[in-house]
């Protein structure tokens, strides 16, 4: 550390943070609170439950858990919470951000270097924030002959489609944004949008390298969609349902990867190709076609596409977990919520506090989420790993792999599934 960041001292860092906190508190106390009280002096105060809502009363409500916890709990049952925060976009973005950091540090360790180091003082933990700020502050340059509306729309559409994909992934029992009966078909439908958006962006840029990259992406995604769909047929046959939550629930005793390993391997390889990860990163092959279909994207347009790419990465890894690794199932490791706390309340000196609405989350939900995150992270680890080992493949090698070998393996997998069903080992709903 002394060589790389010679001026860093933990004591100075802590003193700097304490200094910031001191000034913020001082400004709030001397300027902020008096300003609020002066404003409140001039506006008429409302009457709620027979009480005049004085500033004192409002502040005491804010810190009263018996009033706030039910409000929070009611908010958590709404759709907007599911879409924005927990199983939906916010959760996925948080995971995607941590994936970017883990990927960079992991590749650095593999390649005998340090990786992000300065930003955020501790092992470069805020590097992603810095990159995001840089991308936001950059000028967006549009090629003069580009088809501007389409070119602008493509990155936004890309993120929206990736978010739609995220919405279909069940995280814990009952915790899914869109619990569609034909969930797997919906997944295939959403995946089908990516090549269209890619070729729209590439074509509308009206430039040579994006055009070649877009055509390559189109080749790759279209030719790998067929093995992708076929490799999941085995799972659908043994479970007898297309609903992702039911597929995950059917694996309570065994994950399907034990019975259908070939399907899992084929799905993993097609996943790498759909995600444009190394060794299948032909659409972004730097030494051949600059940055492929991303060449003309600048500033936050590029940032949005990257965000969409990592959301897609999370969604695919989550899909693999749900289909082959038993989703949220796993040994119970979260301790149950203390029941005497619910019955007797919390004794704090002279007062006893009983709170309605606790616990916020059930034990099953927390445990399921934990196992889902662990398994998804493990899948993402294996998705990242080839980047350190393999060079890029060529277009003809890629198409040969997709159209001949993988489709053949898919049929082998389907026959294995059929054999298991007819032999009576497995039937719809799991082990017989």
């Amino acid at each position: 550390m002394s060589v790389i960041a010679p001026n860093f001292k933990l004591s100075k860092f802590i003193v700097a943070i304490l200094g910031d906190v001191f000034w913020i508190l001082l400004l709030v106390v001397l300027v902020g609170i008096p300003a609020i009280f002066i404003i409140l002096f001039y506006i008429p105060l409302p009457v709620i439950n027979g009480d005049l809502l004085t500033p004192f009363l409002a502040l005491s409500w804010l810190v009263n858990p018996t009033l706030t916890i039910p409000i929070v709990k009611a908010f958590m049952t709404t759709d907007i919470f599911r879409v924005m925060a927990f199983p939906g976009f916010g959760f996925a973005v948080l995971l995607a951000a941590s994936v970017i950091f883990i990927e960079r540090k992991m590749m650095a360790k593999l390649q005998l270097r340090v990786g992000p180091f300065y930003c955020g003082k501790v092992e470069g933990i805020l590097q992603l924030m810095g990159d995001g700020l840089k991308l936001i502050s950059k000028e967006i340059i549009i090629p003069a002959k580009a088809d501007k509306p389409l070119f602008w729309a493509a990155p936004v559409l890309f993120v929206a489609t990736a978010a739609a994909f995220v919405a279909l992934i069940p995280v814990a029992p009952g915790w899914v944004v869109a619990d569609v009966d034909l969930g797997l078909l919906a997944v295939f439908a959403v995946i089908g949008f990516f090549p269209i958006i890619t070729i729209l962006s590439a074509w509308s840029a009206n430039s040579k390298y994006p055009f070649i990259g877009g055509i390559r992406a189109l080749f790759q995604m279209v030719s790998f969609e067929i093995p992708l769909i076929l490799s999941l047929l085995g799972v659908v046959m043994v479970t007898g349902t297309l609903n992702l939550s039911e597929i995950a629930a059917s694996q309570s005793s065994f994950p399907w990867i034990i019975f259908l390993p070939i399907g899992a391997i084929v799905f993993f390889i097609t996943m790498l190709a759909e995600l444009e990860r190394i060794p299948f990163d032909l659409p972004e092959a730097e030494s051949e076609i600059v940055a492929g279909w991303l060449t003309e994207l600048s500033g936050m347009m590029y940032g949005l596409v990257q965000l969409g790419t990592y959301l897609k990465l999370y969604a695919f890894a989550g899909l693999f977990t749900v289909l082959f690794l038993a989703g949220w199932h796993g040994p119970m490791v979260i301790p149950p919520f203390p029941s005497e706390l619910l019955a007797n309340g919390l004794e704090m000196g002279p007062i006893t506090l009983t709170i309605d609405g606790f616990p916020l989350f059930t034990q099953e939900m927390l445990n399921g989420t934990l196992w889902f995150v662990i398994k998804t992270m493990a899948v993402i680890f294996f998705i990242i790993l080839p980047r350190g080992v393999f060079p890029r493949v060529r277009v003809d090698m890629l198409l040969n792999l997709g159209w001949t070998k993988l489709i053949g393996l898919c049929f082998v997998n389907i026959f294995i599934a059929l054999g298991l069903i007819y032999a009576g080992v497995l039937g719809p709903g799991g082990l017989q």
Binding site: M107, Q111, E286, V389, V393, R394, D396, M397
Partner: protein, 397 residues
């Protein structure tokens, strides 16, 4: 370089300037545009080009024609050499390839020694061989790093770039500079080896050899790499000789031609040198020969350290501002990291050379590129291009 017309355009299709209202100089003609053919300007601002431009015409995924356009980093080193005397030319003439600076300087120093009639001490010759072989490894590591990232293999970019530091540290101990050493001078080397050098050198070289053997597992034995580079850009033995390629490109096509063996200079004839030859002539063979050369260099360094006289002078004191004897010419060549590197010096009895001409291997290897890329897929372009062991700055001088 003359551009051949792409195979699917007939010469009758080429329009003369009768329809266009624009004036064209005599001899130039407008070419009819084929709508299937797309022209890509790969470089100079392209991550896969180096300091040059490749004008590539593609039909779908196949390259129809490729026209290399070097010259973006021409600095006139040869002309500058005419205005400086024999000693002050030394830091200039290593600039074309700073990563291989000892080898670039070697033919010039050998030539000046012959012109001025200087006899070099035995120990200095061994020190030169050691420095030259270390520098060859440093150059090849840099080349290998770029070859790795051209194939999308980021680990193969980081590992050689990091392991190169071992030998750079060794060269720094030896010469005082990390990259531009200016170590060879007419009459020997600039300064003697530091104390304890032999022990440190043997240890570092042993570790270096262990490291580069590990590259086989991650790079040279990688099935995807082999599938991608084998049978691409095949240069036959006859074509390799006819086009005048040198060094690793020539040896990958099955021609056993290493100047250290065939025309030994300094003390190379006293050392046991094995020349690496492969018969395939494809991109994979061309990328593997430099890697094998590095192991051979490690052997040569060990031999040289063993046979080197343990003490003695390493430099003959020259007269200040030495002059050549009348009108005289000399041509010397050495085996550099890229191939045969020649230096032609004309002296007219003044303190400055009348003319210095470098015959560089990079340019000679580049000549093969349009022939190799014709009919290849676009995805093979970076691997074929960089497997030619080409250094843009050296080609431009």
């Amino acid at each position: 370089m003359a551009t051949e017309l792409p195979s699917n355009i007939k010469s009758s299709d080429v329009l003369t300037d009768q329809t266009s209202s624009k004036w064209l100089p005599p001899g130039l003609a407008l070419q009819k545009v084929d709508e299937r053919i797309m022209t890509l300007n790969v470089g100079p601002q392209h991550p896969g080009s180096g300091h040059m431009r490749l004008i590539v015409q593609i039909d779908g995924d196949y390259i129809v024609a490729c026209d290399p356009d070097p010259g973006y980093v021409h600095r006139g080193e040869e002309k500058m050499a005419e205005y400086r005397n024999y000693i002050t030319n030394i830091p200039h003439l290593e600039r074309p390839v700073i990563h291989d600076s000892c080898n670039v300087l070697y033919p010039y120093v050998l030539g000046v020694e012959e012109l001025l009639g200087i006899e070099v001490p035995e120990r200095a010759k061994y020190v030169r061989v050691i420095a030259s072989e270390l520098n060859r490894c440093i150059y090849i590591m840099y080349w290998l790093a770029i070859y790795g990232i051209f194939l999308g293999h980021s680990t193969m970019f980081m590992w050689p770039a990091g392991d190169r530091e071992l030998l750079i540290d060794l060269m720094e101990k030896m010469t005082g500079a990390r990259v531009t050493h200016a170590h060879f001078v007419p009459g020997g080397v600039r300064n003697d080896l530091p104390p304890n050098f032999e022990e440190v050198c043997l240890r570092q070289v042993a570790y270096f050899e262990k490291r580069i053997k590990e590259y086989a597992a991650v790079f040279y034995d990688n099935p995807i790499l082999i599938a991608r580079t084998q049978d691409t850009g095949v240069l036959s033995r006859q074509d390799a000789i006819r086009l005048g390629t040198t060094g690793s490109v020539l040896r990958a096509s099955g021609v056993d031609y290493d100047l250290r063996q065939k025309e030994p200079y300094d003390v190379y004839e006293e050392l046991d040198i094995h020349s690496n030859v492969m018969k395939e002539g494809d991109s994979y063979a061309r990328s593997k020969i430099p890697w094998l050369d590095m192991m051979e260099s490690c052997n040569i360094i060990r031999q040289a350290l063993q046979k080197m006289p343990k003490s003695g002078s390493v430099r003959v004191k020259l007269k200040p501002n030495p002059k050549g004897k009348g009108l005289n010419t000399v041509y010397k060549r050495v085996e550099s990291g890229r191939g045969s590197l020649g230096c032609y010096i004309v002296s007219d009895g003044k303190p400055e050379p009348y003319r210095v001409k470098l015959s560089v291997p990079s340019f000679r290897n580049l000549i093969a590129l349009p022939y190799l890329l014709k009919g290849e897929k676009l995805g093979n372009m970076p691997s074929v291009y960089w497997s030619l062991n080409y250094w843009p700055v050296e080609a431009d001088r």
